[in-house]
């Protein structure tokens, strides 16, 4: 049985058990490695992708739930070969140490900026409360999201 969904704008027919966490289909079948396993329980945010524009933790999200929906991963947010303004802002702010959590954080930030183009610092912190960073890069990440918001507003 196949389960079809849109991945970064293209149709994909997944061939896996319906209860398979979406994360493994993305990483191992689609070879999209930007969403990463952190906890398997939706507690850390390292695996975050967007489903119909909303952030979901793909380690804890069954393939069957994605049927017919539109999934966006970190690999799908750039435009015309250019990194997304959020990715550019993270580079400009050097907002990574190990970087393992960063792709999930960018996806949550994208959903935030799509819905709220001028977030306050408290808005950003609140949006990211489900994302853990162990290296302590939070301050740079907050700066990067602000920077991206300004860039997108131009």
């Amino acid at each position: 049985m196949t389960i079809a969904f849109q991945i970064n704008g293209r149709r994909y027919d997944a061939n896996a058990e319906p209860e398979t966490p979406l994360l493994y289909v993305l990483r191992n079948d689609l070879k999209l490695k930007g969403a990463r396993f952190g906890c398997g329980a939706g507690q850390c945010g390292a695996c975050t992708v967007l489903v119909d524009g909303k952030p979901v933790q793909s380690c804890d999200y069954p393939l069957s739930a994605a049927a017919g929906k539109s999934v966006t991963t970190i690999e799908g947010i750039g435009r015309n070969g250019e990194p997304h303004p959020l990715q550019q802002a993270f580079i400009a702010e050097q907002a990574a140490q190990c970087g393992y959590c960063v792709t999930g954080i960018i996806m949550v930030a994208k959903a935030l900026l799509d819905a709220n183009p001028r977030p306050s610092d408290a808005d950003i912190r609140s949006a990211l409360r489900g994302n853990l960073c162990r290296c302590g890069t939070h301050q740079r990440i907050l700066r990067a999201v602000h920077r991206a918001a300004k860039a997108l507003a131009r």
Partner: protein, 708 residues
């Protein structure tokens, strides 16, 4: 009988890897390949090493390539640990690059027929003043660096630096924010299978029985591997491996024993047998006679988890009695030695390649996962096996930062000077890494049918030290006795966590300095300065105080307050002073932090600032929230619910000031903030509320107990 003279000592790790071509290759295509033995663990080291090479060679940073660290060709630089990558690895590359440049210049002299003084270099183009030029890429031949290093060519003085000292962007960040497959976790090899290990439910549990027929019958399962109490599954797909793992865990029967301490209070260490060593003793009878007032206090730190966001991972392939292993280990050569011994093959039959991993703050599960992958790969010759630990594996089996107790007693004279200082510390060893002497330090090895024993616990020697890292106060005290009491029994698995013993020791010393300052009626900043002669130490304290706008004798308001902590890491690496502002609400919150750091010559200021900010935020998390939980038989910390860390809504605003000393040697700087930050928070809580918290973490319960 003649003896060859001992070879001259060369700088850093050039001493143990003496051939220039082990470190560098000048390529005809206009690039330079550097071969670091140190590895990227999220600290940005590769960017800094590339800057060093570019600077000394006079080529642009874009020309530098860094070869992945690999046992087939990389220099053996041991571990990437202890804030030593710039001082040991960077210095080696610095001298190697300076010498390579000199060799190229000698060739340019003969090619262009002019004297050395007539030549200048810009981005690899050697230009003669009289006209005429030649590039490195034309001058190089394969034998250029096929020689022993002499280290006789001095690196550039700081006044000539254009690349060192500039904030070059991290070379790995663009790929990391793009989502590209950069971690070992993302490695994809043809025919790769997925493995998981079913760990025992507790440290000493033994596998009693397992009827694995139903596991073998699950879809996709390729192998069930059982060797003593080591139990693993291999499947075609990752989710199939996890399903098989869960089934195995349900049906396996284990015999458990109660081996854990009866309490999570680190004071259980006080009742353990210890190996004692007096590590500092100073006597001045005249000063001792001035003693007017005595204070005593006891400080503790619990077991703390690395809690990396990405659980440990490795990929291994076994074929024709040879193993290939991909790992995020901090030390590929030490790992290879232990792997070879467990697998029963020669070192040369194990090739270990480093790839980036999730954040590494010390000895985590990386090495263990490498053995897991190799053991599972042995069951499926020819097919690579990727093993990633589950979250609960990481939390329950990683070696924690050890619990510690520090007892302090000090005396003041009537002028408010410390005249006597007695300190006793209790702790396990802080280093049980692979390639320890007399044992094998890999988790699965202890569970095999023919088990290996871990190496006997030992402390890395002073001045760096392990449990006694930073135990000897940096202050000028006329009488002093510091005793390290090494607890050899290790009921909980422990090893190196960022800063080792320095966290607890500095937390204790710097908290106690505030207690003594209060007893002396002195301002905490002034009190520290009166006991410090080292101008660099004084300068970072003064800089942090200035940046924070510290007011002499400032008092908190019952809710908000500020405090300071200071240390010179390892008493020989970077100097760090941290001031924090806390706010007591439902929980203690750290709102702001100001830090000043002197790390000598700074290769990449933004990299140093990033590490320092991160160290502070991580230390705030340790100090406010973290402790591993267990009962008599099992580790109870398994998920993020059991082990909360500081989140986005709680992180302070951090301002780091670098006291740059380009004329002085670089000092290790990755771990210097941990102790000072913990102490600064305790001191700020006291400043705010008048309560003294001497047990980490400073939770709401501890605050309530202190207020009662």
């Amino acid at each position: 009988m003649s003896q060859s003279p001992a070879p001259r000592k060369l700088p850093g790790n050039l001493n143990t890897n003496r051939r220039l071509d082990r470190w560098l290759k000048i390529n005809r295509n206009g690039t330079v390949t550097a071969f670091p033995g140190k590895v990227e663990i999220g600290q940005g080291i590769l960017t800094a090493l590339a800057q060093i090479v570019a600077e000394e060679l006079d080529v642009s940073l874009e020309r530098i390539r860094l070869a992945p660290t690999d046992t087939t060709y990389s220099p053996d630089e041991g571990m990437t640990s202890g804030s030593q990558s710039i001082t040991d690895g960077g210095v080696a590359l610095r001298y190697a690059a300076a010498e390579a440049r000199d060799l190229l210049m000698q060739r340019a002299v003969s090619r262009l027929g002019v004297s050395l003084e007539q030549l200048s270099v810009s981005d690899g183009v050697v230009q003669a003043r009289s006209g005429g030029s030649v590039t490195y890429w034309d001058l190089v031949t394969d034998d250029l660096l096929a020689r022993e290093a002499t280290a006789e060519i001095q690196p550039k003085p700081a006044s000539q630096h254009t690349i060192i000292g500039a904030s070059a962007p991290r070379r790995d960040i663009p790929a990391k924010v793009s989502g590209a497959p950069v971690y070992v976790h993302d490695l994809e090899l043809p025919g790769m299978l997925h493995g998981r290990v079913a760990r025992p439910p507790s440290y000493q549990a033994r596998l009693a029985s397992l009827d694995d027929a139903e596991v073998r019958a699950l879809p996709g399962v390729v192998a069930v591997v059982r060797d003593g109490s080591f139990l693993g599954v291999v499947a075609e797909r990752e989710e199939q491996a996890i399903r098989a793992l869960n089934r195995v865990k349900r049906i396996a029967r284990w015999e458990e024993t109660t081996v854990l301490p009866e309490t999570t209070d680190p004071r259980f260490l006080l009742g353990e047998k210890t190996e004692d060593e007096v590590i500092s003793e100073k006597r001045d009878a005249g000063a001792a006679a001035r003693l007017a007032k005595s204070l005593e206090a006891e400080f503790t730190r619990p077991y703390i988890a690395h809690a990396s966001i990405g659980p440990s991972c490795a990929v291994a392939r076994y074929d024709a009695d040879r193993y290939a292993v991909w790992t995020h280990s901090q030390g590929i050569y030490p790992l290879r030695r232990d792997l070879a011994e467990v697998l029963g093959v020669e070192n040369e039959h194990v090739a270990v390649t480093h790839m980036d991993g999730a954040g590494c703050y010390g000895h985590n599960g990386a090495d263990d996962a490498a053995l897991d992958a190799a053991l599972l790969a042995r069951a499926v010759p020819g097919r690579p096996v990727r093993v990633q630990w589950m979250r609960e594996d990481e939390f329950q089996w990683e070696p924690y930062g050890p619990a510690m107790v520090v007892k302090l007693k000090a005396g003041l004279d009537t002028a408010g000077n410390v005249v006597d200082w007695t300190e006793d510390i209790w702790s396990n060893s802080h280093s049980t890494r692979p390639s320890g002497l007399g044992g094998i330090n890999l988790l699965a090895a202890w569970h095999l049918e023919k088990p290996f024993q871990p190496s006997p616990p030992r402390n890395p020697p002073l001045p760096g030290g392990g449990s006694h890292r930073n135990a000897i106060p940096i202050y000028e005290f006329p009488n002093e006795r510091v005793t390290n009491r090494l607890v050899k029994r290790m009921p909980v698995r422990v090893s190196a966590l960022r800063a080792l013993g320095a966290t607890a020791n500095v937390f204790a010393i710097e908290s106690f300095m505030d207690e003594l300052a209060a007893a002396a009626g002195a301002d905490p900043v002034e009190f520290r300065l009166r006991h410090l002669k080292d101008p660099r130490a004084r300068a970072v304290i003064e800089m942090a105080a200035t940046k924070a706008g510290w007011r002499k004798g400032e008092k908190g308001d019952g809710t908000r307050g500020r405090g300071i902590g200071f240390a010179r890491y390892k008493n020989g690496a970077c100097y760090v002073a941290v001031i924090v502002e806390v706010e007591a609400g439902n929980e203690i919150a750290v709102r702001r932090a100001w830090a000043a750091i002197d790390a000598g010559l700074v290769i990449n200021p933004d990299g140093l600032i990033n590490q320092t900010e991160g160290g502070i935020i991580q230390a705030v998390s340790w100090a406010l929230k973290e402790a591993v939980r267990y009962d008599r038989s099992r580790i109870l910390t398994a998920t993020w619910d059991d082990y909360p860390i500081l989140g986005f809504e709680e992180v302070p605003q951090v301002e780091v000031t670098v006291v740059n000393r380009p004329e002085l040697p670089p000092l290790g700087a990755g771990e210097g903030t941990q102790g000072p930050t913990a102490a600064a928070i305790a001191n700020a809580i006291h400043n705010a509320m008048g309560i003294r918290l001497r047990d980490m973490p400073f939770t709401r319960d501890r605050v309530m107990a202190a207020l009662a």
